[in-house]
Symmetry: C2
């Protein structure tokens, strides 16, 4: 049977996930038609990508670059829009069958909601969508029959291990965590951590914000929240396992005690491709895992006392409503303050905790409640950072 | 949906696999009705099992014990037969929907063939069936629409990893091997290995014959042959990986580089239950794997120079026909000769190799060809052991 062509839009196409996604498309040209591409501000790269992949439409976030992109792409007859409204329009175009949302940060949330409301399946790399609006997105997915395909290596691992299996036969899922650069540092030394120390991630090369989230383990807390919404499992059935080598990307334990794991080299092209061509494992010539050259694989319990962000994330998920929005936005604010050397490393969870304590959560939030909570959290933290 | 009751016959019910299978049945009484039980010679235990599980029929291999079993089970109105013919009749009874073949050694081959010819699905623990008659059994399975459910932990792992996946998307399967007790011993010292040394297996408590097969790694060679017939994969797509801790039971690599693995404690009840209740992971309270208490997991390439039995098994599979029969029977003969201290450890592969070299293989063998080759191999080796 011929597989249908995927009509694909990529939001955030000039970022690391977007670039890798286009490498996947390149490797399977006959399987994809590109509907749209969007970039935050890298006009030059967006133009190159558009010339190569011939989308119907591109969106550049930075409105001052509209003319540059427009004139460059005029000979290609590609429609060009700029700014936020154009981005949200692009996200809801139903001539796409699949949207890869690779936007980094809070601005990625609304495009996910737009796409799901338009009944478009979303390959989801943007973490904030489910962390901040998981409840809402879950409801919209059911209403509009849209699916979410996880892109994150951990969630992709769980998803792959669940292929052909029944959710009610799952005892728990186990998200692995590298433990970050401070796994073996005593808590008493955390206040001396510099930005340079924290940006030194052992296994993956990621952006600065997510690298700090990995160092505080907030990233893993976010992944627990995402896993909850992706796989419809309660918090008690989602565990974290520290696995410093990051070779096992995550595991699923079934009710009979059997455990399945997904392993691989740390190459995002593998989970991206799986999310784009699901349920197919398509042939690819990327670097392969050689288990015999690995040294050893080890496992540890996470240290919840040292990494307070984990508990904060669990609390946010347990209470639900708009509390996860506060978790996410307060963490964002605190991490950028740390990167600007305004606060010390241990103050990140302190600020998040203070905001969560002060917040009056709204249950079953609509989009407006989420956006209002985002504003509230920023305003609440502002005086503490001046 | 209610799952249908499995009408189950267990051959070799008083052995280790048989006893564990009855523990599985005990844990899920409502899911099974026992049609038949058979034991080689342990009449006492067979009687106990029959009183507990009320099969319609039992078979005792040792004909001298027929009267003992008959009189013990007369009040239970259970039919009792004895000897080989009764065993083969039991294997082909089509009031069973599933036959667990847990007979150890060559005598287990024909019951598998009988069951498959009768269209009965077989949960297969007996290795010799596929090693000696894989080609024939495969043909009969298609003809009679019977399935084989692997019981071995390695093959169960592969089978579980293949759930929901397509065989054409599998790049290779990777059978893990503990490497046995002589993994780190130089080949030059192999001639000094005593029976006592060889029976000291690091991870699993098994019978003597299979423990020696594990020490020579012939066991892993047999598993490669079994995997070939179970999963319909060519030899080049079946790899062996030494993993001394035996926690990862085997792995599957897909064409996109993604690898799935199945892990667990070394408890045969897990794969037995999966084979009996497939495709279900049924709830069970057995010992669970705690990855954080494991220490480390390591992986090595197998040493084909040291463990010559691996190459012999590959050769037998490559050439096919009746050569795998010679491999198996010659190995049987050699291992028992080693256990009786008639030959030294390095002579095991030497005898197998000599028999394989001398044999004129018959392609597409029928059962008679297999049985004739069995006789030929024994006769060929006899003079070398006197």
């Amino acid at each position: 049977m011929e597989s249908p062509i995927k009509l694909l839009t990529i939001l955030g196409s000039t970022g690391s996930i977007g670039e890798n996604a286009l490498r996947v498309v390149e490797a399977h040209r006959e399987r994809f038609s590109i509907v749209g591409l969007s970039a935050h501000s890298n006009a030059e790269r967006l133009i190159e990508q558009a010339r190569r992949f011939h989308p119907r439409i591109v969106n550049i976030g930075d409105e001052s670059k509209l003319d540059e992109v427009k004139s460059a792409l005029a000979p290609e007859s590609i429609q060009v829009t700029a700014g936020r409204i154009g981005l949200l329009e692009l996200a809801s175009r139903d001539d796409a069958t699949l949207l890869l949302n690779a936007i980094v940060g809070v601005p990625g949330m609304e495009p996910t909601i737009q796409a799901v409301e338009s009944g478009i399946d979303v390959a989801l790399s943007n973490k904030e969508s489910l962390v901040m609006a998981g409840d809402l997105i879950r409801r919209l997915m059911e209403e509009h029959s849209a699916a979410l395909n996880p892109v994150d290596s951990e969630h992709s691992a769980i998803w792959q291990c669940l292929a052909g299996e029944k959710l009610e036969e799952v005892r728990r899922i186990i998200l692995t965590a590298s433990g970050g650069p401070f796994r073996n540092m005593p808590k008493s030394e955390f206040s001396k951590i510099t930005v340079h120390d924290a940006l030194n991630h052992p296994n993956w090369d990621m952006g600065n914000k997510i690298t700090i989230d990995s160092a505080t383990m907030m990233n893993k807390g976010f992944e627990v929240i995402e896993a909850h919404w992706l796989f419809n499992l309660p918090l008690q059935r989602i565990n974290i396992l520290v696995h410093p080598q990051s070779i096992i990307h995550s595991l699923v334990e079934f009710v009979d005690g059997s455990i399945k794991a997904q392993l691989g080299v740390p190459d995002m092209k593998v989970p991206i491709q799986y999310a784009l061509l699901y349920p197919e494992h398509a042939s690819a010539d990327w670097k392969r895992l050689d288990l015999t050259s690995l040294g050893e694989l080890t496992f540890e319990k996470p240290d919840y006392d040292k990494f307070r962000c984990l508990e904060l994330a669990f609390t946010a998920l347990k209470h639900g409503g708009t509390l996860p929005v506060v978790l996410n936005v307060a963490n964002d604010t605190a991490v950028y303050a740390f990167l600007r050397e305004q606060i010390r490393f241990p103050e990140i969870p302190e600020l998040v905790s203070a905001a969560m304590d002060a917040h009056a959560s709204i249950q079953d939030p609509a989009l407006d409640d989420i956006l209002e909570t985002e504003r509230w959290t920023k305003e609440f933290l502002q005086p503490k950072l001046d």
